[in-house]
């Protein structure tokens, strides 16, 4: 299976979330999906452009959509939900509003016919869940996790058109397939502070503190995310978040990418999935996965080596 791929700056350019790119590449490869990066893509503008200039963000994204369309892709995987949301929103708006399309095409110097469907990693894997089920070589042994979707996986509803905006379930179902034990909890779609990482880290600390506390209350051993921004905010500021929430000690809550969990279930090693580069130590989480690979899978793994 060959899939149009828009990695976005987070996964490629800013290396803050490099592990997400690495893990996504590795996991999808072992799932048998070939990611074909579209040529010369540009930044989607999130969050600075969509915060400050609607025409700019629309034009930037129409350029990417037109590139994907010209390259012959229908589905365009954007593992970063901020990118996916910008692509989807631009896609939705230019389809609804011919004037907006004309303006964006003119600015981007490209023609876009509206044939591309940008999708998030969750959406892609959910649609391919039978493949995932088939391909995984081991079940992750019932680790209690909270699935954190963040704000933009399902919003705006009319642009994303996927899952429930308030009580999404697709990531939970995927985690279940991987053998994890997703918990019911309150903060699935609460905002983490997104682009305020640097400019208003106090807001990020306040918001992530609420999320981490809710996950802790639910009894999570880890939080599963599929967004580089959520990951950065949740992973990097746990000390500040704990302090803001008035807690004595750090949360020490491992934040795991869906791609990393998938990779582990597909038999990849923690190193291959860059699990060692997180701020919060993931080794305890990885150790909990200590269950032996299934004999057949182990044999296949040995063979591949």
């Amino acid at each position: 299976m060959k899939l149009g791929y828009y990695p976005g700056c987070a996964l490629k350019a800013h290396a803050t979330s490099l592990e997400y790119g690495i893990a996504t590449d590795a996991a999808l490869k072992s799932l048998g999906v070939e990611l074909s990066e579209i040529p010369d893509w540009n930044c989607c503008g999130a969050s600075a452009a969509h915060m400050t200039n609607l025409d700019l963000t629309r034009a930037l994204n129409v350029r990417n959509l037109a590139i994907a369309e010209a390259a012959g892709y229908t589905d365009l995987l954007a593992p970063c939900p901020l990118c996916a949301k910008e692509l989807c929103l631009a896609n939705h708006e230019v389809k609804e509003d011919p004037k907006a399309l004309a303006k964006a095409q003119e600015a981007a110097e490209m023609v876009y016919r509206g044939t591309v469907r940008p999708i998030t990693l969750i959406q892609f894997l959910y649609e391919q869940r039978e493949l995932v089920q088939r391909k995984i070589t081991r079940k992750l042994p019932g680790i209690k996790v909270c699935c954190y979707y963040g704000c933009l996986h399902t919003r705006p509803k009319e642009a994303m058109g996927f899952d429930d905006t308030e009580q999404p379930v697709t990531l939970d179902q995927l985690c279940q397939i991987l053998g994890l034990e997703p918990l019911e909890w309150s903060h699935k779609v609460e905002c983490c502070g997104a682009g305020f990482t640097m400019s208003r880290s106090d807001i990020v600390a306040r918001l992530t503190g609420r999320i981490l506390a809710a996950a802790q209350l639910a009894g999570a051993e880890a939080i599963v995310v599929a967004c580089p921004m959520c990951h950065a905010n949740l992973d990097m500021r746990q000390g500040e978040a704990a302090a803001d929430a008035g807690l004595g000690k750090d949360f020490q809550m491992p934040i795991i990418y869906l791609a990393q969990a998938l990779g582990l279930a597909l038999g990849l090693t923690p190193e291959q999935l860059s699990l060692g580069t997180h701020f919060v130590d993931t080794s305890a989480f990885v150790q909990r996965l200590g269950g032996e690979p299934q004999p057949a899978a182990a044999a296949r793994a040995a063979e591949e080596k």
């Binding site: 800013h14 010369d40 930037l60 350029r63 919003r155 997104a194 682009g195 500021r237 580069t277």
Partner: protein
């Protein structure tokens, strides 16, 4: 100061322009407060989301454009997702951010947020993608004494983990991106004129 309400104000060009960009009348909002109820950063706002929509309804341009609220808005879309009247308050906030730039009334208290957006965009305009280290440097250098020491530890920890990358990813057709920026420049000036 008593607010003078008149037809000229509640039916002003400014209000019509907001509504044009929004695609519907601000009067559709019935001020239920659902948006403000779910807003994760409402605690930072003097005028929470619903009050910002109210300012638009009453044509109170100055207060709306000088407010901090639109700048601390994280654009998480929670408000718009839950709005019972499909007023799209998140879009209202975006429009107010655009207009504050156009009118040169970006709230001085939230200059960090604004600078970060600008640093981000100048990075994109320059390379076609975000150059993270460059963005951070650019942002910090705008106010080195205040921003320089912030997050030093986090930065060090990131370096030790090999992130962010040292070199920019530059796309081939950067010129096209620059032209996009040119053509979509906000009406008056995107330069900041702090009040």
């Amino acid at each position: 100061m008593r607010l003078q309400l008149s037809r000229g104000q509640v039916d002003s060009d400014w209000k019509h322009e907001v509504e044009r960009r929004l695609g519907h009348k601000s009067a559709e909002c019935y001020q239920c407060g659902k948006c403000s109820a779910g807003c994760p950063v409402a605690y930072e706002m003097f005028h929470p989301v619903h009050a910002m929509v109210r300012l638009v309804q009453l044509g109170r341009m100055d207060e709306a454009l000088r407010s901090r609220s639109q700048w601390v808005c994280v654009a998480c879309e929670t408000c718009s997702t839950r709005c019972p009247k499909d007023v799209d308050p998140a879009r209202v906030m975006t429009i107010l951010r655009e207009m504050a730039q156009e009118h040169g009334t970006v709230n001085a208290n939230e200059i960090d947020i604004y600078d970060f957006h600008q640093s981000f965009l100048s990075s994109v305009a320059r390379f076609g993608r975000v150059y993270e280290l460059g963005l951070v440097a650019f942002y910090k250098l705008k106010r080195p004494f205040k921003r320089g020491p912030q997050d030093m530890l986090t930065g060090l920890r990131m370096m030790r983990r090999g992130k962010p990358g040292l070199l920019p990813h530059k796309i081939q057709n950067v010129a096209a991106i620059r032209r996009i920026f040119e053509r979509t420049r906000l009406a008056k000036s995107s330069d900041r004129k702090p009040d």
